[in-house]
Amino acid sequence: MKHPQFEALLFDIDHLGHEERIALEAHLRECEHCNVLATSWRDLEGNLISAPKMEPAAGFTERFRERLVVYKRRKQERLTLAVILAILISLIIVTGFFGLELLTFIPSVISLLLKSINGLVLLGGLLTILGDFVLVLLEGITQSLPAGLLLAIAAATSGLAVIWMFSIYRFGFNTLRKE
């Protein structure tokens, strides 16, 4: 065996066979270079192995829990941001693809809106007229009929309404039960 081969053995003493051990010991008695290297390594290795185990400051797990909370919050924020971005990007893509069609569509949308508003105004006017008519009718009835009769009619109407609602409720309930 030659010098570099002994060097290789030197750093792997734990894995040496009996004969390799004897050969190395014989070489170390003759070769000063390997001898110095061997003693240096032996001292250093001993120091490495016996070095104390370093421990973190107390409360390591609590600090980890805090870090975990921050991590989860940030993850949630990133997720929200990603959803918003995705929506925005989809909107941009849709606008890009159908932009021209949308532009031609806009005037018809506006005219439709105007028509709808016009219709709503007309409906409002109609309802006002109907309200006025009902008011006049009620005033006429209350003036021509005596108060006692009015009360009796009101009581009878309420009673009929209650019976009607009750029958609807019972009917609906029975239908549900059958289903």
Binding site: N35, L48, K53, R63, F64
Partner: protein, 202 residues
Amino acid sequence: MAEYQRSNEEGLWIERATQGDDDAFAQIVESYQVPVYNLCYRMLGNKEEAEDAAQESFLRAYRNLNRYDPERKFVTWLLSIASHYCIDCLRRRRLKLVSLDDLLPRRERGTSTPGAEANYLQLENAEEIRIMLDGIGEKDRAAMILRYWYDFSYEEIAESLSLSISAVKSRLHRTRREMADRWNVQNKAFVNGGRQDEASAI
């Protein structure tokens, strides 16, 4: 790795943590904080960075828990995550020079303390060990630490650092040689003449 044998409890914590139980994961952190922190400290050489790296390693483990293979030893997997994180930290650190002091030879900063002659063979404090590990490549340093502080086999080191077993062997050999040389140079001033008589100690 006899010190960190898997217990039934550990298996249960991992299972529960995988299902989203943060308290179970906190138990894992509580159990493994020392080995993970110690590895980070040996890799990075100071408390602040070690704390941050250890915390970050646990967070990475938390995020990747569903990728953990139960066939593997959990602590090996955890230390592998911490090793990779520290290797990245050291690479980033290498790219930014902090001060001119970093350019001074290590020997001038490490030794020459009063009474050094009396116990020059003792690397008593963490700072001196840090100096010995300083200047060694990131992966080589991780391999040395896993070998000497965690008693990892060559196979476990290879698995943890994504290297082949032969690469681990050659890296470890090269690093031991480099460190022994440095150690030798460091103490040359005190060593007069040969020390043939010590050879028989091996």
